[in-house]
Amino acid sequence: MFAWINSSIVSIIIFLPLIVAVLALFSPSVRLSKWIALGGSLVTFIASLHIWFHFDAKSSALQFVEVYDWLPSMGIKYLVGVDGLNLLLVMLTSFLTPCVLVSLWESKVTYIKPFLSLLLVLETGMIGALVAFDLVFFYVFWEVMLIPMYFIIGIWGGSNKIYATTKFVLYTVFGSLLMLVAAIVLYLVHYEEHGFYSTSLLDLYKITQMGLSTQSYLFLAFSLAFAIKVPLWPFHTWLPHAHTEAPTSGSVILAGILLKMGTYGFLRFALPLFPDALVRYSPLLMTLGIVGIVYGALMAWMQKDAKRLVAYSSVSHLGFVVIGSVVILNGKLSEEALTGALYQMINHGISTGALFFLVGMIYERRHTRILSEFGGISAVMPWFAVCLMVATLGSVGLPGTGGFVGEFLILLGVFKFSPLAGILASTGVVLGAIYMLNLCLSILFGPLDKEENKKLTDMTFLEKTYMVPLSVLVILMGVFPNFFLDKTRASLHHLAEHVSEYRLMVSHHDSEPVHEVAGASDTKNK
């Protein structure tokens, strides 16, 4: 039994939420359904902890690999695994999902059962997309993420939900369809060079003969899909709408994890598959990223709605991640910037997730998110005030919080690449302080002069159970970043050094089918 768990741990964390989703949907009572959902997501989290502790940090290879042929005639395999690039994101996903489920424990959401199961399906989609190393499976999981979110916004959203969710889906589908076309071209290019069909990323990484123009087209197609998901300026306008309309839990997942799929996609696909195109387009992406940083910050400053403010701040923060991912120095990616980008994804997930939770809390109590409706809340909600302060500080990147480590590493790398870009991007740090502290100022401080606000109750025990860990994480990640970075170092080093001839090996201490990976593709499908 234990051996089986060990050898198929990745599949377990992918599909367990799906199974639990079905159980939760058909469970006889709402209470039971909640317990099932929460239990399932906690087990998933524990299973992902198993990966965390047994992960070999010294190796850049793909670990916990599972390979099964699915459509051998077309070279499609079920290939999943974990390496330093996706490990932290998998952890983030499996950590945030139970938090979201706890936050729904006492909510008065209608149709709670389908809501819970959609969240769990979403978890399957996200983890699947993170660990899939086969283009077809990646694409399927990528789209699986979309559908639950479509319903979550469309059914449980605010007043303008249909517009928001349609926009979200159309935008994303538009990008991902182009990506699908590019993936098929890539598949054929691989066939031409190596003489067999394969959709496995490990095989596709071995493509060496691809002209610059082909690379450019494919790179742009992939990048567009990811840029929309990130969202990179100017493809960001779906985000404020989606966030404003989405229910709190939807926003948390959306900002916390879904957006990272875009930036993760850059790291996993766009950079190593098309290195020459990357060199060509890295200035473009960097420009868009920097514009996004400044623009997002200025937009956030102008918002009167707390949730919209946080949404625009995501545009700004993810601009940092994008510029950190594409810093090229002497034909190599800058390892510092790359580390910062990956770390910033996690930080943003935690701190922005926390911010959305907090905004959700006051929305639930006051049914408004307009900043001017609040003021002086910290007198009646001290716990809330502390958590909001910590999340804010994490978001503005104060040293001692995770946000600083991420932003610092990114900006350091960018500055080494181009001082001007570094300086421009750093202005985002100043602007960040302005709009985030403005948020705090409007909500927490000032006179408590509105009658409705005087009766607000502080965070309940249940709310504390997920806000306290999130707040502690914000600080822990800033004080002991190496604890997290150690796991990613080897993989990032490998990616940074070898981006132009990236090969991902499969770790040797794993089970049998692994060695077939290389062999299987050689013999079949000639």
Binding site: L298, L398, I434
Partner: protein, 647 residues
Amino acid sequence: MLIWLVLLFPLVGAVWNGLLLPRHKLLSHSIAVAGVGLSFLAALPLFVSLLGEGAAGSVHLAFSWIQAGDLDIGMEFVVDRLSGVMLLIVTGIGSLIHIYAGGYMNEEKTTARFFSYLNLFIFMMLLLVLGNNMLVMFIGWEGVGLCSYLLIGYWYTHKPNAVAGMKAFVVNRIGDFGFLIGIFLTYKMFGTLSFSQLHEVLAGQESLSPALTSGLTAIGICLFIGACGKSAQLPLYVWLPDAMAGPTPVSALIHAATMVTAGIYMMTRLHFIYYLAPSALMLVAFVGGATALFAATIALVQNDIKKVLAYSTVSQLGYMVLACGVGAFDAGVFHLLTHACFKALLFLGAGSVIVALHHKQDMQEMGGLKKYLPITHAVFLVAVLAIIGFPGLSGFFSKDEILWRAFSFPGVGWVLWLMGLFAAMCTAFYMVRLLCLTFYGKNRSDEHTRHHLHETSSVMWAPLVVLAFLSIFIGYLGIPPFLAEAFHGSNLFSPFLSSVIQVPPAGEVYWSFLHEHHSEALEWSLMGASTLLALGSASFAFILYRNGPTPFLQERKEAFASVYRTLYNKYWVDELYDRIIVRPLKEMSEFLWRVVDLGIINGGLNVLGQSLMFLSGVTSFQMTGSLHRYAVVFILGLMGLVVLVIV
């Protein structure tokens, strides 16, 4: 081992008070005092161990903090004579102010949050002081900014306080932006951020290439922007006067004695960079001199007792920066030390006055308090004499040292000296004005307040007495050499620091004048001139204000109305910044949001969507919904296909 204790105690105090939130005021006060006091006690032996001849600094690594690529930043701390001096200032003066704060905050319901912030501040300040690389220093640097933000806005229900806190944070962030760029530049050029490694690299250079010099100049200027933010220099000083919204002990600790001196400390720590970048230092010197003068003139006419002290702080910080600018880092640190004592004393004394008057800060409602607050008056008098440079008190020695070093700077030195001299005259004037308006003349407060006037509790005046003794005697650590010879003593301070602060070999030619000998007569006459001018200005102020605001003063005010208004409104700098920076930025954002974001990007997309829907509307006329129509078309099409295939 001790260094960990030094750091640990305030942190434990902060966490204890912050998380457990003890209800009992005395308990939270004791925890906080113990946190910083024990830290001071632990720092004492550390400092003593540095006293020995040629005692070298030591570096302690706690753990590796950030490791990515080639970058490996350790959480490492340095204990040498420079950080030792700062350590004592921070924990020593910090302890006194913590004790005082217990009395000052006595009217609050709970004080746990306050003392938690205060201890956290001490911890962050220690990180700043002890950090052995730029990044650890930067944690402290922003950390003290955070504490300052939280403490300025401590009484957050009053909106202006919270706004002032935010202003402080944001303006500091602008400075920190410069600091950050400086860090990036340093890393790009040298591949390390560690002070000791940087020192090794730069001290090992016999001469500098032009590229290196310009790089160092850029680094120096960027870091100085950071210092401008934190140490409230032109043009980033605007946050400090507003920061007076915080409780007075906070103003004393953070906005006078310790945090605001971080910029001077940082430049002194990096003296080896600045010595090699003389043009950056020239900028530093002029900014410092200009700030000293500028802020002193504003202080001349302010009526809020804390505002006067705030502008006085800005001005004194200008002195320190000026000292750094002329390469007299030791003089800067010396003035930092004496200033920490007498300015803390001034603020705490003002705090006592404010408490006695039930939180009134307008000097026009004070006067004649000497009778009611004798102890406060006595210590306040000492502090005023110290700051105006009354011979024999601490400020006299440190200020004179700076003026002398400015004067001996070749070339433009005399300009800087004149700036400093004039600022000193202003200082003497406004401090005596403040003293007179507060303590002398007739009492101008209302009947009710006057009735309740009485001396503060011993927990408040005892620290003041200690500070008064320090203000008198601490100056004797740094007697100018020529005076020392005359009195058979010696200057202890500069030689003590000289093992840390040395001109790197590559800069020795430029800085050779530092070792030049000047005639004693010149030194005597300069000292005499500045002292006489300051005392003259002080007596002038005394004569004018000893009876409080008189009709004569009112007439003068009206005669010089335009000058008065300009000064009273602080040269309209805040309004100017609002007009040329804040508002345009806001308008631009508004434009970007309304026009670009909602209009062009989002609107464009909506137009795209709508035009597609219109197109589909145009082409969907044949979708009648009638099954039969569909079937007919289907069959016809099929037949057509068959025909096509056959023919």
